[in-house]
Structures are given as structure tokens and as C-alpha cells.
Amino acid sequence: MAYNDKVLDHYENPRNVGSFDKNDDNVGTGMVGAPACGDVMKLQIKVGDDGVINDAKFKTFGCGSAIASSSLVTEWIKGKSLDDALTIKNKDIAEELALPPVKIHCSVLAEDAIKQAITDYKKKQ
């Protein structure tokens, strides 16, 4: 399969790889997917007192499109309020990366990861 340039760029130069302390109250962690399915995404957000996501990190086990989807969303959510971050839809991710139909589930996972990270953060407050 030939890859789209944007997927390749995110894959080769992934943005924001890493982890925050998941026990930190300002951090929300989302972990979605399953090893048996070949995709696991961990997305973490760090939220400021103003309710704005001021940093994000990810780690992903999965294909190039899964890595690119998670890398992309860490860029997108930085600087957004929680409500704004929740408006990111899998369709936007798939369109930006020109994902083929068999890779749409990667974008779905990335959207779910955002939601889960935000839910986790809110639970802690």
C-alpha cells in the first residue's frame, strides 16, 4: 500500500511522543484499542487552570496510519479548550490524512482517545 505524504510525515517525524504522569491531577489519559486488533493508542492531555489543553502526548502501537492519526490529534488539541477538543471528529482526521477506507478505524480510535482522555481528566476534578 502506498502512503499519503502527510501520513508518512507524521510517521517519520511523530509530534509529541511521550508520557505524562498519569496520576497528576492536571493530566487526563485515554487508552483505546486492543493489542489483539493490532492498534492501541494512549493519548494524554495536560490541562491548565484556564481549562485549556496546554500540552499533549501520545504513544501508539499500530500501523503507520494509527501513529499518524494520534500524532496529528496531539497537534490539533493543543491550545484548545476541552469543549473545542471534543468537536474534533474522526472524519476530520481521516480527511486531513487522506486515509483509505480500511484505515478509517485509525481515525475513529484517535477521536475516542481524545474523548477518553477528557473524561479521565474531568473525573479527577
Binding site: 500500500m1 502512503y3 508518512l8 510517521y11 511523530p14 511522543v17 508520557s19 487508552m31 483505546v32 484499542g33 486492543a34 493489542p35 489483539a36 486488533c37 493490532g38 492498534d39 492501541v40 493508542m41 494512549k42 504513544k59 501508539t60 502501537f61 499500530g62 500501523c63 503507520g64 494509527a66 501513529i67 480500511v102 478505524h105 475513529v108 480510535l109
Partner: protein, 403 residues
């Protein structure tokens, strides 16, 4: 060293230049139809086909009259399985095969099931090899055919053909083997191994694509119904004009394989071991899939735990390999062959098949080892599963949401 490096020799091999050279005149100057018995164009083509038939037969210890030329192993498998089943259905309707067979065998069997046949799909052991006790117990008085591959295309394990052949012969059950990955790679003798039908694929051992053969035993005679009809070529079993240049290539590849087998194997095995030790010596949590002893010299199938196969292939884009990861298959299911070995889905997703061949070099192996080690380390740094493993978290304790 030229990039990209080809390390997918179980998918296909390049045509050996020695083979190609012999083929060329048969495209242009000597283009006759071997079936044209009325002029010299036909005669010379017929002579070439006869020679090729003998070269193929000699490689497997057969008689030239027992060789049917086909387009490749898929066609040979279809003719063998459907042909025997259809001819002998009055005698019995039971067929035995393995779950780890190639799709050409499995799907032929599935089709026969829809036609009222019973098929037993034997599981394989954790090392990929057949359990002969299970085979013995699977025979019924309705069994007409056993079909077991010579060597597996994904994990390279070599099935004990001689033992299977002996069990079949005792019971007067036909034994077919899909030897696409075996012929030309290690010694196969249809008489010593009691093989009744054997499928050959040219492009797996340096002959061109689009040509293969089916061995069909004459004594005791194996009778089959053809699956395609026409001018009655190849004893009526496979009608269609014979492709002289391709057959010349197939024959030459067989002769070279017989002649170079020992030295090729010694060299390729040394490369494979250099590669295996290079990777296992530098990376933890890697597993070789399939038996290491009963195995093709040129095959190495490795699971790199915590790193998904397709992303690993992207990271080593200068190296052409295959993966058992679902992401590389149209079905989105990980390799059924690895699953048959009891490899869990997670590990199946992390597998890469390295296929070394006649033209692989030590320099290429060293480059691939270096590239793989670097890529796996990089991807593990990005892998949440690796991170959890380092923290001592057991993946099995987590409730994953399947999607």
C-alpha cells in the same frame, strides 16, 4: 549494495539470468507450437518441451510422462484436489488437509465441501508441524485424498512428507503435496516419499511466473477428472497450448536447482543464521515462529513483541519483506498460519517474514539487521504496550475494548 533490498523470496524470486538466457530464443526465432506436428517449427518446440519435461521429472525423481505442465502451483493444486475428488467420489468423499495450508488448497477443499465432500482440517503443533497421530486417527474408510504441503510459505517449516506418504500408501489413499515452497529448495523424491501428486511453482525457484507443473503418478496410476477442457494437451488433464519459453525456463531452473542445491542451501542457511543471531542478540522480546530445524534455509519469521508489523515495515522501507499483521492483508485478520501455531493475535500482528534466497548477500543481511534493530527500538519508544511491559504491567490483566 543496491536499495531497496529484496528479502521476500517466499513471495517470489527473480528469474536466474542463466534461465532467462536460455528462454529468449523461444520467444522470437523458435516460436513454434509444440503441438504442430507438421513442420520443423513445431518439432523444435516439441523437442524443447520434452527436454524441459525431463528436467522437471529428474528433480523430483519422476518419469517425464508423469509431468503435467500448468500455469503454477495454484492451478496444479486445483487440478489435483478437484480432479481426484471428482474422479473418486463414488469410492469416498473424505479429504484430509492441514489448517496451515496455502489458500489454493484450503479454498479448493472448501469448494468441495459445498459439493458434499467432508474435509478434515488437522491442526498443527506449536512448531507448525503435523501431528502424525492425529493424521492416523483422521483416516476413515471414505478417505480418498490427503493433501499436506511440503514447506509452509509463511513460516518455512518442512512437513515430514515421507512419513505421511507411507501412512497414505498403507491405506491406499492418494497423497498430494503442494510443494511450491519445497521443490528446488531441498531434496524431494516422489518415489521415496510415496507422493502421488505434487504441485510445482516455477517462480519460487528462479523460473518465470506463470508456469508450474503437476506430477501425477502412473504406477499405481492416479486417475483424475480434468477441470478444464480443450485440445487434449497434457494427456487431457490440462488442455491449452504449451508456453515453450516458460517451460524451457522451468526446466533450466530445475536443472540449476538440482546442481546448486547443496551449495545454495549451505550459503543461505549461514546468512539466515547470521540474521537470526544478529536480531536476537540485540533485541529482547522477539520470537522466531515455527520449528527452527525442520525449516527452509531461507525463511525467518519473527514476532517483534510490542511493535505492530505494518508500522515496522514502513520503518524499514528500504527492505522488502512481508508481515503477518492484519493491516497488510485485505481481510484485516492477522495471519491464519501463525494463529494455527497458537501464536496469539497480538503477536501475530507483530510478525515479519524475511525470505532469503540465491541472490541474498552478507552485506544485505547486515544492513537489514541494523535497520530492523534501530526501527524496533524507535517504535518501542512510541509503543504504549512496551511502556506497560517495562512497568511490569501484564497485558492479559487489562480489559481491552475490542473494536
Amino acid at each position: 549494495m543496491k536499495l531497496p533490498i529484496y528479502m521476500d523470496n517466499q513471495a517470489t524470486t527473480p528469474v536466474d539470468p542463466r534461465v532467462l538466457e536460455l528462454m529468449i530464443p523461444w520467444f522470437t526465432e523458435k516460436f513454434g507450437n509444440p503441438a504442430s506436428s507438421s513442420h520443423s517449427f513445431g518439432w523444435e518446440a516439441d523437442t524443447a518441451v520434452k527436454k524441459a519435461r525431463k528436467q522437471v521429472a529428474d528433480l523430483i525423481g519422476a518419469d517425464p510422462k508423469e509431468i503435467i505442465f500448468t500455469s503454477g502451483a495454484t492451478e496444479s493444486d486445483n487440478i489435483a484436489i478437484l480432479g481426484v475428488a471428482n474422479f473418486h467420489k463414488e469410492r469416498g468423499n473424505h479429504i484430509i488437509t492441514l489448517v496451515s495450508e496455502h489458500k489454493a488448497v484450503l479454498d479448493s477443499c472448501r469448494f468441495l465441501e459445498s459439493e458434499g465432500f467432508d474435509v478434515t482440517y488437522l491442526p498443527v503443533q506449536d512448531n507448525g508441524l503435523i501431528d502424525l497421530d492425529l493424521l492416523v486417527n483422521a483416516f476413515t474408510d471414505k478417505t480418498i485424498l490427503v493433501t499436506v504441503m511440503a514447506a509452509n510459505n509463511e513460516i518455512g517449516v518442512i512437513q515430514p512428507l515421507a512419513q505421511i506418504g507411507a501412512l497414505c500408501r498403507e491405506r491406499k489413499v492418494y497423497f498430494h503435496t503442494d510443494a511450491a515452497q519445497g521443490v528446488g529448495k531441498y531434496p524431494i523424491d516422489v518415489n521415496k516419499m510415496n507422493i502421488d501428486l505434487l504441485s510445482i511453482s516455477g517462480h519460487k525457484f528462479y523460473a518465470p511466473k506463470g508456469v508450474g507443473a503437476l506430477y501425477v503418478r502412473r504406477r499405481p496410476r492416479v486417475r483424475l477428472k480434468p477441470v478444464m477442457f480443450g485440445g487434449g494437451h497434457e494427456r487431457g488433464i490440462r488442455s491449452g497450448t504449451l508456453p515453450t519459453p516458460l517451460l524451457v525456463g522451468l526446466g533450466a531452473a530445475c536443472e540449476i536447482a538440482a546442481q546448486d542445491m547443496e551449495s545454495d542451501n549451505r550459503r543461505i542457511l549461514a546468512l539466515r543464521e547470521r540474521m537470526r543471531q544478529g536480531i536476537l542478540g540485540q533485541l529482547s522480546d522477539v520470537v522466531v515462529n515455527g520449528d527452527l530445524e525442520q525449516r527452509l534455509a531461507g525463511n525467518l519469521n519473527i514476532s517483534f513483541n510490542y511493535v505492530e508489523g505494518e508500522s515496522l515495515m514502513m520503518a524499514i522501507k528500504d527492505v522488502a519483506v512481508s508481515s503477518g499483521s492484519a493491516c497488510t492483508s485485505a481481510s484485516l485478520e492477522p495471519s491464519y498460519v501463525l494463529r494455527a501455531l497458537g501464536v496469539n493475535e497480538e503477536m501475530a500482528h507483530t510478525s515479519i517474514r524475511f525470505g532469503l534466497g540465491r541472490f541474498s548477500t552478507e552485506e544485505e543481511v547486515d544492513f537489514v539487521v541494523k535497520t530492523i534493530v534501530k526501527a524496533v527500538n524507535k517504535l518501542r519508544e512510541m509503543s504504549p504496550l512496551w511502556e506497560m511491559a517495562q512497568e511490569g504491567i501484564n497485558m492479559d490483566d487489562i480489559e481491552w475494548a475490542a473494536h
